[in-house]
Amino acid sequence: MRLLNAIHIDITFQFRHGFYYVYLFISVLYLLILFNLQQGIRETITLLLLFIDTTMLGFFFIGAIVLLEKGQNILQSLFVTPLRLSEYIIAKVISLSILAMASALIIVTPIHLSIINFPVLLFGLWLSVIFFTLFGLIIAARSQNVNDYFAKALGLGLVASLPLAQYLHIFSTPLFYVLPTRATLILLEAAVKPTGLLHIIYAFICLLVWNSLAAFLAYRYFYRHVLVGTGAL
């Protein structure tokens, strides 16, 4: 119940700050563009948009959200209530992933005929959105302001995006398989073209492992660098 309330409040907050309008607008814009692309290139671009926009949605916004709450001393009041840190983090992740998935559902409509494995697409995306939101929380916990967050997020985000090179057939190395984003791209591709079961299983395990690690680190960093500072302990 507490968790549901927290999610509800987060969604209301995001709605009030225009996230839903902005994403509705952007998703529809993407839709118009994708419908005007040729059949052959449409899938590639759609999956690319899902990767760089949808999965990174939480990564983009979470920094500013946490820094705002920190700056307005909201966290101090929040954590004297029975709300637990884990619930706070889960609410952030769930609320942002709802927005991301809604936007994803709009963006995939132009290629819905070519999708052969919808559950893989959905779960792959969802796990990736969760990963990037947690990743953002880790960075945000140690950032001074939005530009500071940007700088760190840009650097780490670029490293995370390296497997795009393999997706675009520029360069590939087995090392990419260590990164969660390689798994994301495998699952996105598996949605539109036949992929070996082993690859799909690897991708899900890879994302789950990274998500657990990110969740653990997000909790720890938040506890150490944010909570201790608020005096709410």
């Binding site: 907050f13 700050h17 225009g18 996230f19 902005v22 607008f25 952007i26 814009l29 563009i33 983009f60 916004f61 500013a64 959200i65 820094l67 705002l68 700056g71 001074q144 302001n145 939005v146 530009n147 500071d148 940007f150 700088a151 760190k152 840009l154 650097g155 670029l158 675009l168 057939h169 520029i170």
Partner: protein, 241 residues
């Protein structure tokens, strides 16, 4: 001059304290690395494997890349202004002889200078494509003006950083303008003319080839940029406490 120096000194202190400067440098360097090395590499690979000639799109790529620094610097400046407003720093500066207009003029001109510099370096150190130097002045001015446009879009409308992010995301739509100009064949594309970068793209593709059209795009472009900037400035000045 002394007043400006004081502001600059405060900024330098701030920049070394956090990673803003790293962000500016890093973002620009990544861009340079892409046009210097990655695009030629990608181009060779595409030609080899898919018989797709990326060289046809070099001018479009350079145009698109030229628009990234003003948006990046604009967002950074926008967030610095939001941050300083939250910390009431603007209120303090407003009562000094610098006044709020001085503060704004300073912030925006620094980021515009950075955008012009990065444009010229990007446009004339790459081996892919460039517009004749003679015709580069007005596109450069327009590109520079996009920095304060982005910054003010964030600083004027956003109540706080979170809304700033949402407006920043929205400002990203301006990136679509070059592609609309290039790929939409019908006259409907001129609807995208409300996006300032549309006209920058126009000058890129007419410089040196269709001079009368180049001047038409330049005049309209400068008017649109000036108009958008003037409106945003007015909103920002009036909306502040």
């Amino acid at each position: 001059m002394k007043k400006i120096m004081a502001l600059a000194l405060a900024d330098i202190k701030n920049i070394t304290r956090d990673s803003t400067l790293i962000l500016v440098l890093f973002g620009t360097v990544v861009l340079y690395i892409m046009v210097w090395f990655l695009i030629p590499l990608l181009s060779a690979l595409l030609l080899d494997k898919l018989v797709f000639n990326l060289a046809d799109y070099y001018l479009l790529i350079i145009c698109f890349f030229s628009l990234i620094p003003p948006l990046l610097f604009g967002m950074i400046t926008g967030f610095i202004i939001l941050e300083e407003r939250d910390e009431e720093i603007i209120t303090f500066i407003a009562v000094t002889p610098v006044r709020k207009t001085g503060y704004l003029a300073y912030k925006l001109s620094i980021s515009m200078a950075a955008a012009i510099t990065s444009f010229y370096v990007l446009a004339y150190t790459n081996s892919l494509a460039h517009i004749p130097l003679l015709y580069s002045f007005f596109p450069a001015i327009m590109i520079a003006m996009e920095t304060p446009i982005t910054a003010l879009l964030i600083a004027s409308f956003a109540e706080n950083k979170v809304e700033g992010m949402a407006f920043g995301k929205l400002a990203g739509i301006m990136f679509l303008a070059p592609f609309i100009y290039y790929f939409v064949p019908s006259h409907w594309k001129y609807l995208a003319g409300i996006l300032p970068p549309f006209w920058v793209t126009g000058t890129f593709f007419t410089a040196g080839s269709n001079i009368s059209l180049y001047w038409l795009y330049t005049v309209i472009g400068l008017l649109i940029h000036g108009l958008v900037l003037a409106v945003l400035l007015k909103i920002f000045i009036n909306s502040q406490r």
